[in-house]
Symmetry: none
Subunit: 192 residues, 4 copies
Amino acid sequence: MLAEQGQKPNTLVVACCDSRAAPEMIFDSIPGELFVVRNVANMVPPYEPDGQYHSTSAALEFAVQALRVQDIIVMGHGRCGGIRAALDPNAEPLSPGDFIGKWMNLVAPAAEQIQGNSDMTPAERQTALERISIRNSIANLRTFPCVKILEERGKLRIHGAWFDISNGELWLMNPISQDFVRLDVDAAVSLA
Amino acid sequence: MLAEQGQKPNTLVVACCDSRAAPEMIFDSIPGELFVVRNVANMVPPYEPDGQYHSTSAALEFAVQALRVQDIIVMGHGRCGGIRAALDPNAEPLSPGDFIGKWMNLVAPAAEQIQGNSDMTPAERQTALERISIRNSIANLRTFPCVKILEERGKLRIHGAWFDISNGELWLMNPISQDFVRLDVDAAVSLA
Amino acid sequence: MLAEQGQKPNTLVVACCDSRAAPEMIFDSIPGELFVVRNVANMVPPYEPDGQYHSTSAALEFAVQALRVQDIIVMGHGRCGGIRAALDPNAEPLSPGDFIGKWMNLVAPAAEQIQGNSDMTPAERQTALERISIRNSIANLRTFPCVKILEERGKLRIHGAWFDISNGELWLMNPISQDFVRLDVDAAVSLA
Amino acid sequence: MLAEQGQKPNTLVVACCDSRAAPEMIFDSIPGELFVVRNVANMVPPYEPDGQYHSTSAALEFAVQALRVQDIIVMGHGRCGGIRAALDPNAEPLSPGDFIGKWMNLVAPAAEQIQGNSDMTPAERQTALERISIRNSIANLRTFPCVKILEERGKLRIHGAWFDISNGELWLMNPISQDFVRLDVDAAVSLA
């Protein structure tokens, strides 16, 4: 049935590869609901129409222009390994290609600033950057002309979310204040 | 508990963003088992240590070098929208950036050859390219030195899989013949 | 009865003057349990035996040396007006004496560092400084020789706590990581 | 709700740290009503704009200038340990810093005079100094220009109160005679 009709998801989720943060489980969704791009640290790069291939931008374009999703959720999570790597001043490249190092450069300025704050604990710095990175990705989302235009016309809604893997709670970003607020289960489910 | 210990997945899955093809559901996995990168058409680009950011390569590097996964599954699926776009001779860019067009260039040579074969039906061409693309991604996987070395040492296994969304059946690629063979449920589950 | 025996509280609470953060309500305590010093932003200044009068240090000395309390809780809270003032770069003195400005100088270095981080929202900066200030006060507590010695001998325990006035939840500071962790009600009550 | 709106207490209470004298219980107030500074013996020091930090003056300034409270209650209580220490001719410093000794110097002249009056019993001397100290603090309150001006304009009312911890009765200071008069419950509640 689902195959015959083609997929008609209403929601694009940009999520992390982390094995503990599958969006289908967090949102308790069924097949066909969520179009999901997953990369390390659930990041959206800025709009770069440079003729190179861009995995995440391609998925975004496909979701917005071909599938015409109505909601985009950028979902980060606690204890993210990519964010931890970005905050580690002694991080060595994992391989000569240093793909993680390059990828995490997308949040390098914010990471540097947070790293310098020794008043915060490592866990506090980690959570802060996880959330900053979500806002950063949302700002990058809006550099895509199609996203910007559709959002302005009220055809597309953008949400930030942060999943606490230690207790399974979901926090949603308030679109005005950009703060993350813990939701009870009913509210979280209604988003998906 | 899972949060305290950090994630220790044994398997990296390269899957598609498609809303009907969530790996956790297909493999019936539990949180912590699968590290999942999802992009349009579940592709792995070739090794390109060019200093640019590469989302999928970063996830691959992280899984292999930091998490030390023992299995990599490249999982395609039927009726893939990305593959359909690659096969459409009249496909227009979805946006001025044409991110999908650029991304699907990764299978452009194979797509062109299939397109020219008018003896096959459209559905046959589609399935054929879905499977060719999986083999193509596996070949690209082996251009990453760390993958190549670990596989040669027997520390890493690479699998191809194709999920039939019309009936929920999983097909596995025979590593010798590179054919896709339908598995009964027991065999599929044993992979994860 | 209570009057005849004199007070024998086991716990000193350093709390804020805020009208929404009365320790007796938060800990559901009864008369006689909590010796409570309340000042703006629940701060403990460093040990300064300079012959000047020091309100908070006097209360601390009385609680530790005369009442021999066994626990000290430094309890901050969300949306603290003193912390907000410390973070406001345009804060004007409230009066020519600028007593709040002088008092909040106790967290000025940390406030300056947090202020400079424009990646965090105002609410995130506020919460971060509220918690940093609690750790700062705990560090100052340990500059008092009597506190330091008694704690080393296991006669005195020091706790950090942060009360979320938006929902009534209490967070306790982990003494090792110094992170604040939300507690369920049972755990919170057992502290008092 | 209370958190969203910010606190809007109408009353500042200067109270003692004593575990038996929590203002919220004595006035049966609800969260948001009372801004409470608590120090040993509920004292207000005189206005000293000397650039040092002053905990109680900072709280006073914040309550009057930022929160614009309309009432200030200086509330003493029976069997106050700080007052007892001030009256003890053999009191030793509790620690080398002698913070209590320094703090209680704020009532030293009155304490000396009372100490010399051997016609009064110890309990009478104690109660007398507790009440003298309240009047002393009220006089100090009026050395703050903002308090003096607002009181003269009828924008701010100042009250003295003394809580009898032996029976739970509240005594209010008559503003003209400066005598303390026991109130029935109705009168006490109307104050808060």
